[in-house]
Amino acid sequence: MIQHARVICTSFLVAALGLSAAAIAQKPFADVGKQPPITILIGSTPWYPAFEKVVGIYEQQTGNKIKLDVVPFGGILEKARNAVRSGQSPYDLMTLDTQWTIEFYDGGFLSPLKEIDAAFELPKEVLSYGDSGYWNAQKRWRTADGGKLMAYTVLGNVQLLYYRGDVLKQAGIAPPKTWDDVLAACAKLNEPPKMYGFVARGEKGNGIRYDWQSVMLAERASVAKDPAAGDYTVTINSPQAKAALDLYIDLLKRCGPPNYGSLGQGDVIQLLATGKAAMGDVVTAAFASFEDPNKSAVVGKLDTVALPRGRSGANGAVIGNWNAGIPKNASDPQKKAALSFLRWFVTYDAQHAFAENGGIPNRSDVFTSDLAKQPRFRWMPAYLETQKFAQQELGYAEGAQVEQVLGLRLNQALIGEMSSAKALNTAAREIEDIFRKSGRKTGTLPPLPE
């Protein structure tokens, strides 16, 4: 009897899934016509399964074929470099971490999208993500002001403050609005090793650089004075930046596990997913995994708010997105086919399907759609709020080198190898040197007292 019921249930489930797939396939997506097969370079990132499903819908609807070359994170950049430096690119579309895109824009390795089709326009609903898809070759800076559209964001990741709704409620704590609120909450909730009050990345390199910069922006500090205007005076050793670094060190030391200096993204996600952290600073893309019972012990218990304000009263968040661009050395028909997919992918329906399958849509209207009312998309309001103040950082040609400097010096300050003032003074000197060698107009602030 039970087995019989199971068969019926399974049949219903299969039928329902089939119908929903058919319904998706019948939705009015953009008609892009018959196109030759294309190959896309993509990383095996947390959002890849969602992208793969949407590609499946594209193939089903259009009959056009897409081959996905899925590469671990560490190998994408080299594959992309080899592709664009060869005679003809094996890829027709490449998804690149926003930090890497600069090298490709600056080297002229990508075709501006309007050069492939002059009529191509991004819909007005598409979020700007700090103009990360634009490149002003003269300023060597990512900006729509005088810049060309080289790529667009297929996944816009920002950090959110995740918190255990149940734990905070039980302790009578409201969701934090400032970093001081986080400190105060963690003082009450921190109960190591059972529960850590707050976790964020402290590991050397991109991890600490990226997470700390949100606090840096919230303290109204910056790396360089005004890169958009060509003023690369290094300001990383300002009193505001020191305040941000001291606050970040305080947060990680007082609220996190003792291995805060080597805590990477995987560790932070693991601590939250296992219920060992009450709050954490994590990318939006991780939300889906917290709702997966196979990966998470806290399904339905984690809520999100925009990253808190600093003592300056400002909010800060860094955008870390993935952009899709078309290699210049792809053939013209392949470029057109790749652009056709991009045109299709940015439609409301495609983005809606992308979100339904666990991706982060890049259109504001999807965030106000029926999805926003569903509990599993409860991260959407915080994400949309964050878009109001989130910024692209290190959006200049020297970004990768600057990240190396910051990633090391911030980590050294965190683990106590040097004081925060010395770390920032050292970083300022090194970054100024990088800018000077590039021929930028640069300088630095007077050193902080060490």
């Binding site: 390199g205 200096g261 080597s262 601590l271 990768a400 190396q404 683990i415 190898e417």
Partner: protein, 297 residues
């Protein structure tokens, strides 16, 4: 007749020379050319743009970068500590295991097979496995310590411990390699010589010190040579375990090379660093060889 044979001789000699050509060509293509190209890169700044590669002759710029690079001293210091510590421990443990197993009455084949396993595991898997073992909150080491009511250890997050945690992984990975080389050598030791020493009243220590070690010297030198070269080039495990952190506590020259080449895309400076590493390995080996010579009785 004589003319005929001298012609054959000349032809043979010519053929012998020309028959080497494919091997020489292969050697030039696979060894000389890449090294020569590395030299060329090390005195250049290489930039890629859509128009192609742009090479600029800038030897002084690359040298200036090397001098100004504040990570290099820490990387060199850590690399030397890592090489000396890891290789020394591996040699001692490998030799001890080889002698113990060779003396076992049964099960040598099984032990040898089991010992090979760590060598077969890809370094990437080793890094991932040990990262889990070392995990502060969920790793088996700290779970065991907790079960024994001992405080957890910050294996990879402590600046004073991280490099040694990496050394432990390398030892686990490579002791079997040393063991296999030395085990074969111990098995091949002349039994009559060992017996004669025992009959003459040599103690175990004297047997080891005065008889076995001198006879094992060639195998020990080979194992030492291979391990030293490989230890200088270690990358995968450290990259996965710590990425050089925290701070510069596990920053090795190879890791720094990777960052310069691939993260910073500085091919010229990266090549100069590569040459410096090659020179360091050669110097280290030359000094080692000289030390072995001097130590000979």
């Amino acid at each position: 007749m004589r003319e005929n044979s001298s012609l054959t001789l000349v032809l043979n000699r010519t053929f012998r020379h020309w028959s080497l050509l494919p091997a020489v060509a292969l050697f030039v293509a696979l060894t000389i050319y890449p090294v020569a190209n590395l030299f060329r890169m090390s005195v250049s700044t290489i930039e890629f743009a859509q128009a192609g590669e742009a090479w600029t002759f800038t030897p002084l710029r690359n040298l200036a970068l090397l001098r100004a690079d504040e990570v290099v001293p820490a990387a060199v210091r850590n690399t030397l500590i890592f090489v000396v510590a890891a290789v020394a421990i591996e040699m001692v443990l490998g030799l001890a295991l080889a002698i113990i197993v060779a003396g076992a009455a049964r099960g040598k084949g099984l032990i040898r097979t089991v010992m090979i396993l760590p060598i077969l595991v890809p370094p990437v898997a080793i890094g991932s496995i040990w990262k889990l073992l070392y995990n502060y909150d969920f790793g088996i080491f700290n779970q065991t310590l907790a079960a024994l009511h001992l405080p957890p250890v910050n294996w990879l997050g402590s600046t004073s411990l991280a490099l040694w945690s990496v050394v432990i992984v390398d030892v686990w990975h490579w002791v079997p390699f040393v063991f296999l080389i030395l085990f074969a050598a111990v098995e091949a030791l002349p039994v009559d010589v060992l017996e004669a020493a025992r009959v003459d009243g040599a103690t175990r220590w004297q047997l080891l010190r005065r008889v076995m070690l001198p006879l094992l010297r060639p195998a020990i030198v080979v194992a030492l040579l291979f391990r030293t070269i490989l230890a200088f080039k270690v990358f995968d495990e450290v990259f996965l375990l710590t990425s050089g952190g925290p701070g510069t506590s596990t920053e090795l020259v190879t890791l720094h090379l990777y960052k310069v080449f691939f993260d910073q895309n500085q091919l010229g400076y990266g090549s100069l660093l590569s040459l410096a590493l090659i020179a360091a390995i050669v110097a280290f080996l030359l000094v080692g060889r000289q030390a072995v010579r001097l130590a000979r009785p």
